[in-house]
Structures are given as structure tokens and as C-alpha cells.
């Protein structure tokens, strides 16, 4: 029975290639629930790509199939990936906001002969879990490491870290600690707080008592960042001269109107700011704003989705629309291009994206809109976290 099924699928794949008509790309992301905003940004990035480049590669037409995994749920992610491959016959899997969701689906890739393009999930180990994974987003190690340099250069010798107690938070803590100590600084205390924390006042008191000159923090983008930034201001840390360092997750563009005045001057490092000044980005932002409807909702996952589509199209080009995952992935190893975020390339060994990381400061423009202003560029940053991945 299984053989019959396999034969049927093989036949379907063959006939698909013979007609060279529609190539399906399955996108898994959080399109409803608490992270709906990020899923919406995936879609905006993909739609922007299609609007700017058309939905055809050669004579093949690209069709996107969306599937919803509202919160990290590897079992559901895997079931959907399986369904996308077996029933929908997708030739590419893409999206994946959460690490466990991506990890769950990587196990299928070899057998399904399908490459995966990760558009967000930021744990270093994902690319190591299958040779058919390419990532166009970032890792927490990658975006965190440069801020340690910034902190040290701004005269901070004693820092404290305050991160959400889950995978990415712990990654951020390790990355900052490693980089900061390499610079000769000292991390006086590392605090992990539960993800569900909504009152940060007692933690701010802890930070104050620690005697650190700088606070490094990582929180996943979303509602708690608002309360966190307010707590930093209201509890006198800002006034007390304790400097604030974070990754761009804290000041994502869609949260800035809500953060408002409180966020002004916050320094973060990240791979993309919607305000990035380049012709490529202007074109992208115009298209993505149109795709998402409300420009205030545009945020970082959109650019990774946009570049993910670029990579997928290159793969389709290289394979002539035939399903050959290995050839497709090989074709984009070492690929470099100018993304809306700046020059990027796919590292041939890790298949992770090498990109510029920017130091940004929240500023207010002439029309009173808050934005992440890029003030410094760390060029061609790879993923330092790969060295720590258990083989």
C-alpha cells in the first residue's frame, strides 16, 4: 500500500515537472493567535516579492499555500508539513516562526526531497539538523554579539543580563556573556525571568541593586516589551544612568507607536530596520506596506520572508522547476545579493545568512513617528552560535 502511495506521489511529482506549470511553496507560520502579527508579516514579505517580481519563474508559476500554527507546536507543525508535502505536493517548505516548529519539520526533508527556507526561527542548531535547510533570517547569537562590543566601548565594564527564561533568551544571555567577557567586561549577574512575567518593577529593583552600569535584555517581541520598557523608565534606571542594551526584538517597528516616548534613545542591534536607507529597501517597504494594509504593522519577519522568496526563486531557476532538493540547496550556497536590509550572502557551509548587523537608536522623525535609526554597521556578520551547536 505504501509503495503504491509512494508511486502515486512520484508520478504526481513527475507529471508536475513535465507540464512545468505550478510550483507550490508551503508556508507555515503563526497566522492567528498571539503571534498573528508576525505571521501577517511573513505574508506581507511574500506578497511584496510576488508584486515586485511576478509569480513566474521561467514558465513555472509559483503558488503559495499557507498553514497556521498559532503557537509553538511542533506536533502540529510536523503534521501540517507532512500534509503540505503529501497532499498539496509542495516542492518547498518555508516560514517557521518558532524553533521547535522548524526542528520538527526538518526530519521530513530528506525523504520528501524538499528544501526548507527558514524565515524566522532563530536558534543556531536548526541549520545543523538537516543539510536541506537554508535560513534567511538571523540567529539570536548573531544579533546579540555586536551589542556587547557597543556596551564595552561606551564605557560599561560591569553589566547585568535580564532575559526571558526560554531557548532564545538563554541563547541571548550566553551570546552577550561570551562576547562581553571577550571584550574584557564583567557580567555581574545573569537573571532569567519567566516568559509570562508582566510586572517588571521588582526585577528593575534587582538590576539597580546589582551595581551594574549597563543592562542587557532579551524579550520576545510582543506585549511584555511595552511593560518592560516602561518599568525601565519609571523605576528610575534611566535617570540613574544604567544604560540599556537589547536586541531589535524589543523595539520592533510595529511596537514603537505603543512604546512611544518611553523608547526614545534605546539602543538595540538587529539585522533589519524598516527605516534602512537604500533604494532596494524603499521599493520593498512600499510594496510590503501595500501588502500588509496598515503600514504601522510592518516589522522584521517581512524582510526575511522577502529574501526567502528570492532564495526559493533562485532554487526554482537552478532546478528548472524539477523537484531536486539537493540541487536546489547546492545552487544557493554562496549566493550573494543586495537585500532590502543591505548586502547579504548564504554561507556555503552552514547555509545560514551572512548579513550586516546594525546598531540602532530609537528616534523621532519630523512627522513625530518613532523609528529605529541606524547609527553603526557591523559588516558581514556570520552566526557565532554555530560553534556551540552540539553535533
Amino acid at each position: 500500500m505504501k509503495k503504491l502511495l509512494a508511486a502515486a506521489i512520484a508520478f504526481a511529482a513527475l507529471s508536475g515537472a513535465a507540464y512545468a506549470d505550478t510550483i507550490k511553496v508551503g508556508v507555515i507560520g503563526p497566522f492567528s493567535g498571539p503571534f498573528a502579527l508576525q505571521g501577517k508579516n511573513f505574508k506581507a514579505g511574500i506578497d511584496a516579492w510576488l508584486a515586485l517580481n511576478g509569480n513566474k519563474v521561467g514558465s513555472d508559476e509559483i503558488q503559495i499555500v499557507y498553514r497556521d500554527v498559532p503557537q509553538a507546536d511542533p506536533a502540529r507543525s510536523k503534521a501540517l508539513a507532512q500534509e503540505l508535502v503529501v497532499r498539496e505536493g509542495v516542492q518547498y517548505l518555508a516560514g517557521f516562526y518558532f524553533t521547535p516548529d522548524a526542528m520538527a519539520a526538518t526530519a521530513l526533508l530528506q525523504q520528501a526531497n524538499v528544501p526548507m527556507v527558514v524565515m524566522n526561527a532563530a536558534t543556531s542548531a536548526i541549520v545543523a539538523s538537516s543539510p536541506l535547510v537554508v535560513r534567511t533570517s538571523f540567529t539570536t547569537w548573531q544579533t546579540t554579539t555586536p551589542i556587547a562590543t557597543v556596551a564595552k566601548e561606551q564605557g560599561v565594564t560591569k553589566a547585568i543580563t535580564l532575559v526571558s527564561d526560554y531557548g532564545p533568551g538563554i541563547d541571548a544571555e550566553n551570546a552577550f556573556k561570551t562576547a562581553f567577557e571577550k571584550e574584557g567586561g564583567k557580567v555581574v549577574e545573569t537573571i532569567r525571568m519567566p516568559l509570562s512575567t508582566n510586572d517588571f518593577a521588582p526585577l528593575m529593583q534587582r538590576v539597580k541593586d546589582s551595581g551594574a552600569q549597563g543592562l542587557f535584555t532579551f524579550l520576545p517581541s510582543g506585549p511584555p516589551t511595552l511593560a518592560f520598557v516602561k518599568a525601565y523608565n519609571d523605576n528610575g534606571l534611566k535617570a540613574g544612568g544604567i544604560k540599556f542594551y537589547g536586541t531589535g526584538d524589543l523595539t520592533q517597528e510595529s511596537d514603537l507607536p505603543a512604546l512611544g516616548e518611553a523608547a526614545l534613545g534605546l539602543q538595540t542591534t538587529y539585522h533589519y530596520a524598516v527605516s534602512h536607507d537604500s533604494p532596494e529597501n524603499k521599493t520593498f517597504v512600499a510594496a510590503a506596506e501595500k501588502a500588509i494594509g496598515n503600514p504601522a504593522e510592518l516589522s522584521f519577519p517581512s524582510v526575511s520572508a522577502f529574501d526567502g522568496m528570492y532564495v526559493i526563486c533562485k532554487m526554482i531557476e537552478a532546478t528548472g522547476g524539477k523537484q531536486d532538493a539537493k540541487k536546489a540547496v547546492d545552487a544557493v550556497k554562496g549566493l550573494s545579493w543586495t537585500s532590502p536590509r543591505g548586502p547579504v550572502s548564504i554561507d556555503p557551509d552552514s547555509r545560514h545568512i551572512t548579513e550586516n548587523i546594525y546598531l540602532r537608536e530609537v528616534a523621532k522623525d519630523a512627522s513625530g513617528k518613532y523609528y529605529n535609526k541606524e547609527v553603526r554597521t557591523f559588516e558581514k556578520q556570520g552566526d557565532p552560535g554555530l560553534a556551540f551547536v552540539k553535533k
Binding site: I191, D199, K230, G236, D255, A258, E297
Partner: protein, 287 residues
């Protein structure tokens, strides 16, 4: 000493914020015996009204609160007539199913209509910034929340214990059939109680927005917190809810200060302990 004092202030502020947001649920669960998991949804609707009024229409903060309370109650009236009326007295699980359904709908509609971004209610200048207490500073808004909390507690206590309406409410809770037989129109009592609960939810949603930011998923995100607070205090008891909030606020704040990594453990172990010792809540009247 200074640290203890400082934690005390944080605990008071956090506890009172919890109180303002959860007290409406205590009213529905204790007085009306409805496990209203949609409480957060109504709080969120209130918050969105206020946000729209203050940020987009440029009304004042006080006017925003008024719009929120009135608007939410107006939305809630048909929902009460059409849906809630069917589940008064129904088994708890049926109530859970219905109110979760309502919550899903509210989340979906909010997401569709207003998008998934965070909404804020801009504060008036008086409540912005922080106030110096001598040994530390605290957000001015938190002081406002503390005052609101005590005012709401006192007002509700007066309403339930000292007014004619309060007598009817208590009688209806204890024995609805007998009260109706005595000539009290219990459905009016229910409707008014429901309106009061919704008004409190909306008020809490607006006042608490600084702590629990408004977004579509608000309706589910904090449901557990509300439930815990209400049951620890004892559904329907205003002093109970007040004590519970202050107690849980203290436990949570202290835990978070001393051992943030184990904050969750602290909190839920304490909840288990309290609930086991006081199965009807600290001052419960619901059997």
C-alpha cells in the same frame, strides 16, 4: 529595610492592579455563578474603546474611561440577552464552552477589525512620569491605580452591603427562587449585576493597560491570572478579592525579586497551598 519597603510598594501596586482588573470576574462568578472566561474579552473591549477615544478622537483620559465603560456595557447587553441568559444555572462546563466561544469570536473580530498591533491609552500629563517617594521612585500611574483599587473596593462594598439593591443581590445569590417568590424581579437583579461586572471589566482593562498591554489576544492571555485571583479570594467576596490580590501580589513580587528564575514555581506552589488550606477562597461565599 529599604529593599523590603521597596518590594512592599511594588507588591501593593501590582496587587491593586490585579484587583481592579479581576474584581468584575469575582462579581460574575460569585454573584451570578457564571464561570465567565470571557471576562478578559470585555476588559479588552473596554481598553480598545478608550484607546480609540483618547488616541484617535483626542478626548481626555477621564472621558475615555467613560466611553469605555458605557460602550462596553452597550455591547454586552445584547450578548447577555442572547447568550448569557441561556447559561445561568447551567453546568459549569457548559458555561466554560460558551464563554470560551465568545472569547474566540471577540479575539477573531478584534484581530480582523483593528489588526494585531499593540494599542495604548495615552495618559494625561499628570499620570505620566514617576513620583519620588524618598527612598525610590514609582510610576505616577501606579499610584493612580492603587487609589482606583481602593475606591472600587469601597464603592462595591457599599453597594452590596449597604444599599437596598445590595440586599436583593445577596438574597438572589442565596436563593433565587425564594427571592423571586418574594416579589423581587431577579432577572433585573441579574441584568444589573452583569452590567456592573462588565463596567468593572472595562474599567480594569483601561486602567490596567499599562501593565497588561492591549492586543487581540489579551482576552485569553490573562484568563488564568484572573481565575486564580478570584478563586483564591473566594468568588463574590470583595474583601476576599482584595486580600487575595495583595497576598498574591506580595508573593509574586517577592518571588520575582529574590529568585526570578523560579518565580513561576513560587507563585503556583503558593496558590496550591492557599487553595488547599482555604478551598472556598480566603473569604468565599460560593459553595
Amino acid at each position: 529595610m529599604q529593599t523590603v519597603l521597596s518590594i512592599g510598594v511594588d507588591a501593593l501596586a501590582y496587587g491593586m492592579a490585579l484587583f481592579v482588573i479581576s474584581i468584575g470576574l469575582s462579581v460574575t462568578m460569585g454573584l451570578m455563578r457564571v464561570v465567565n472566561l470571557a471576562h478578559g474579552a470585555f476588559a479588552m473591549i473596554g481598553g480598545y474603546f478608550a484607546s480609540y477615544a483618547v488616541r484617535d478622537l483626542g478626548l481626555g483620559y477621564a472621558a475615555g474611561i467613560l466611553v469605555a465603560v458605557v460602550g462596553t456595557v452597550v455591547i454586552a447587553i445584547p450578548i447577555e440577552r442572547l447568550l448569557y441568559r441561556r447559561i445561568y444555572g447551567a453546568p459549569q462546563l457548559t458555561q466554560v464552552l460558551m464563554t470560551i466561544g465568545i472569547t474566540f469570536c471577540v479575539i477573531g473580530i478584534t484581530n480582523f477589525a483593528f489588526g494585531p498591533t499593540l494599542k495604548t491609552v495615552p495618559l494625561p500629563p499628570l499620570l505620566q512620569g514617576s513620583v519620588d517617594l524618598g527612598f525610590r521612585s514609582i510610576a505616577a500611574h501606579r499610584i493612580f491605580v492603587i487609589i482606583c483599587g481602593f475606591t472600587v473596593a469601597a464603592g462595591l462594598w457599599f453597594l452590596v452591603e449597604r444599599t437596598n439593591f445590595g440586599v436583593k443581590v445577596r438574597a438572589t445569590v442565596d436563593n433565587a427562587a425564594m427571592t423571586a417568590a418574594l416579589g423581587v424581579r431577579t432577572e433585573v437583579v441579574y441584568a444589573v449585576s452583569f452590567a456592573v461586572a462588565i463596567a468593572l471589566a472595562a474599567f480594569g482593562g483601561v486602567i490596567g493597560a499599562e501593565l497588561l498591554p492591549l492586543e487581540p489576544y489579551y482576552a485569553l492571555r490573562y484568563m488564568v491570572t484572573f481565575l486564580v485571583v478570584v478563586s483564591v479570594g473566594g468568588a463574590g467576596s470583595i474583601p476576599g478579592a482584595l486580600i487575595a490580590c495583595l497576598l498574591l501580589g506580595t508573593i509574586d513580587t517577592t518571588g520575582r525579586y529574590l529568585a526570578p528564575e523560579y518565580g513561576e514555581f513560587f507563585f503556583y506552589l503558593a496558590v496550591i497551598l492557599i487553595v488547599t488550606l482555604f478551598p472556598r477562597g480566603l473569604a468565599g461565599r460560593m459553595k
